[in-house]
């Protein structure tokens, strides 16, 4: 996890396209400038970044479901719950399932577990559209390779 680069997923553990579910893993870094302010003497993974981590996990599921042809953009977060503190060094098990694939949008349900206990959950809405720029998809493809995402971007289109 590289917080400053918004790279919140370390690796994809499982992508089940038939079941419309995904599992991913990430380790909160031991050190980050973010912890200097959040909070002095009591470093905590910011809740908004836990929400972002759930959104990124969901996003990879949607990218997989669309065969890497479409990009999801965060549009709404509902029923977000941050159940307990998450500290530097902890390993996050992230999971998401697709609740609905609409026309141009998708809704997921996502959660984060630490040591088998749910620490965060949310229902997330995405606008889903064509990649706005080929470079964007190329960069996403590079991230996909780095985190072991099993669906390759089409060579053209």
């Amino acid at each position: 996890m590289r917080l400053e680069y918004f790279q919140l997923i370390d690796r994809i553990v499982e992508l089940d396209l038939a079941g419309r579910t995904i599992k991913a893993q990430a380790q909160v870094p031991e050190t980050s400038t973010i912890f200097e302010g959040h909070f002095p003497g009591h470093p905590l993974m910011p809740g908004v970044l836990l929400v972002e981590a759930m959104a990124q996990t969901s996003g990879w599921l949607i990218i997989g479901a669309t065969g890497f042809t479409r990009m999801p953009f965060l549009a709404a977060v509902k029923e977000a719950k941050l159940r307990t503190f998450v500290a530097p060094g902890q390993i996050l098990s992230l999971a998401a399932s697709l609740l609905h694939e609409g026309s141009g949008y998708a809704i997921t349900k996502a959660a984060i577990d630490v040591d088998g206990k749910t620490v965060a959950q949310a229902e997330i809405t995405f606008k889903v559209m064509a990649f706005p720029d080929p470079k964007f998809r190329t960069s996403m493809s590079e991230v996909a390779q780095r985190i072991g995402f099993p669906v390759e971007a089409p060579a053209h289109g």
Partner: protein, 93 residues
């Protein structure tokens, strides 16, 4: 069994916190009821679920942007309900 309009109007009232009596068959979802595109996603989700369909929002948006259709054709509630009925009928065909 409630009509398509009643179901849609109830969805809009609950989703967007609009008084039910303000929602009429001739209401334009955007121009009259002030529903924006993000709120309309919630409505679309509820409609998709309630009727077991997939509203073709992308196609409608494209047609409007290309000048091939007007927003009235798709977002006046009478017309929206007719589209829903058509999609439900096509699903059962």
């Amino acid at each position: 069994m409630s009509s398509t309009f009643d179901t849609v109007a109830n969805i809009i009232a609950e989703t967007c916190d609009i008084p039910r009596e303000k929602i009429r068959p001739e209401s334009h979802a955007i121009n009259d009821l002030g529903i924006d595109s993000l709120d309309f996603l919630d409505i679309a989700f509820a409609i998709d679920k309630a009727f077991g369909i997939k509203l073709p929002l992308e196609q409608w948006t494209q047609e409007v942007n290309d000048g091939k259709a007007t927003t009235e054709q798709y977002f006046v509630l009478n017309n929206l309900c007719a589209s829903i009925d058509g999609l439900v009928a096509a699903k059962g065909a």
